[in-house]
């Protein structure tokens, strides 16, 4: 069940979420954590081992876990609740919506296996969680890129009051952003590199892929900018409009999510609302239940691999 993510030779950090949550919990005694039989699979065991009295094992019962998180928040605590992205978004949606979001309670929902990060098939592939959650008022949505991003985002959401859904890479997580002058800021996009031909607007693990693709494309004299958008909601509308208004660049939104209802469509809508009309393309998963199989094969098949990104960008530029 532990799906390892191809780090493309990058160094990795072990369980960045669990360790960052421990740091946050040292500073804030109100932080508690819950899981639905997946602490070891969401790196929450690191917190549970360090803070056994602040950890609630709820069993495989996602609905009551999230209702109970709401109850803890009502009593003044800041619960972090973990499961897989599919089970929060599909199974527990109503409980998150009405018990947590409607009252804007201080609950952080942190979920492993976002998008296509397991070869187990649709039961575990969370291809539409961003679409599901973007429609929920009050909810902040984060899709961090790597270990550094996860650590900084964990501290940021612990300090932020209000409900948050965060996608999580777990286990040995690639660490790429530390090479850049990067600080996670809630609700802000960050330009990681500039370029004249292509503007990647990327989120989650696709920022990693976009950075690698940009390197490869440089060999073909294609100059790519990479704008990292870890906060899906509220979207940094100004930052995105500003970057996309620079004329002459192909805008490519890259996300580990269905092409429906994720970052791509969110960006497209914001550009249209402001009468900004660059050439626009999406790198995203198809509107399908995806195959089972080995993860690298699936990333290739569905266009999330670096090679697939490079090939498609070249094709778009030729057209």
């Amino acid at each position: 069940m532990i799906a390892s993510l191809d780090a493309g030779g990058a160094p990795t950090v072990d369980a960045p979420f669990g360790h960052a949550l421990n740091d946050a919990a040292r500073a804030n005694a109100n932080i508690v954590a819950l899981t639905a039989d997946l602490s070891k699979y969401t790196d929450l065991h690191v917190f549970a081992n360090a803070n056994p009295s602040r950890f609630y094992q709820m069993g495989m019962a996602e609905q009551v876990m999230l209702s109970a998180a709401a109850g803890l928040a009502r009593e003044g605590f800041t619960p972090f609740a973990t499961t897989y992205a599919v089970f929060a978004s599909r199974r527990a949606y109503d409980f998150i919506c009405m018990a947590i979001a409607e009252e804007s309670l201080d609950v952080k929902i942190v979920c492993a296996l976002p998008g296509l990060t397991t070869g187990y098939g649709p039961s575990h592939q969370s291809t539409e969680d961003l679409a599901i959650f973007r429609g929920m008022p009050n909810l902040t949505i984060i899709d961090p890129c790597d270990a550094t991003d996860i650590q900084m985002a964990t501290r940021a959401i612990a300090a932020h009051r209000g409900p948050v859904y965060m996608r999580l890479l777990r286990g040995k997580v690639p660490d790429v952003l530390r090479e850049y002058d990067y600080q996670f800021e809630l609700g802000r996009v960050k330009l990681l590199r500039d370029g004249a031909d292509v503007l990647f607007i990327a989120t989650g693990l696709m920022t990693m892929r976009a950075l690698q693709a940009a390197e490869q494309l440089r060999a073909d004299s294609i100059d790519c900018a990479v704008l990292h958008a870890p906060t899906i909601k509220p979207l940094d509308v100004d930052g995105i409009r500003e970057a996309a208004s620079k004329t002459g660049r192909l805008v490519v939104v890259a996300e580990n999510h269905s092409r429906i209802g994720g970052l791509g469509e969110a960006v497209a809508a914001e550009l249209m609302r402001a009468d900004i009309h660059p050439r626009f393309r999406q790198i995203a998963l198809p509107d399908e239940f995806l195959d089972a199989g080995a993860l690298p094969t699936l990333h290739e098949r569905y266009g999330l691999s670096v090679d697939a990104v490079v090939t498609r960008v070249k094709k778009w530029l030729e057209a």
Binding site: M1, I2, T35, A36, D37, L38, S39, K40, Y41, H45, Q57, M58, G59, M60, A61, E62, Q63, V64, V86, F87, R90, R91, G119, Y120, G121, P122, S123, H124, D291, A292, G293, A294, T297
Partner: protein, 290 residues
Amino acid sequence: MRDVDIKQTNAAGAADTVSLKQRAYRIRRHALRMGEVQGQGYIAQALGFADVLAVCYFHALTYRAGDPEWEGRDRLYLSIGHYAIALYAALIEAGVLPEDELETYGGDDSRLPMSGMAAYTPGMEITGGSLGHGLGIAVGAALGLKRKQSTSLIYNLLSDGELGEGSTWEAVMSAAHHRLDNLIAVVDFNNQQADGPSQDMLCAEPLEDKWRAFGWHAQRVNGNDIDALTCAFDTARNHDRARPRAIICDTRMGKGVPFLESRERNHFLRVDAHEWAQAIDILDRANAQS
């Protein structure tokens, strides 16, 4: 009259017990060979549940190996999609799947994905894996079979972990409300979940009493005792009151391969390359001696 291809209605006699043991041994062996292909997986569940599956496919179920969608079959739902490796092993033993296909287990474009899905595999009735679905679907199928005046039974295989899901208990109430005497729930109580022993996750006991209080006929048996299982399945099938039936099977994960039985964190086992042959050898030798 039911159209019967493979059917033994009575509690197994001594000769049958030997052959069911053989079946269980062979199911374990197929599962280990698939495990070896991936080097890891839900192999401890498959070993623990092999006796139950042997009794299902070679004692209880009515089916046609060459026609897995035959209308007159008993339906067997694998709610626990991650037990796919166990069901593939049983389907191979039952002749629904060819044995050489086990080499493809979990590979790209295989009909045997790591999590059970209906569209991929002959004999896999539902797409499980998002746990807590099977029993509810079984309620509807049981209603549908009754509407069609079918005498087929529906078996839903679920895990102790699934007893944590609210949807399971909605289905438990619904089945009793609709007096579904054609529905048999088979619970694998292996006292294991992803994070540890089930009793530390969400206490499900007292289990038999709970199912009874919800209006079911409930039995609890040693799920690694073939004679006890055949009796329990016969009792469940022949019970004459209009209520659904549950068989709670206490099983031992890794059963039959002592060094895997005693391994910790056996929800998702990693097994070293050389240990697979060792495990198969242990099974073979135990079988030769019996």
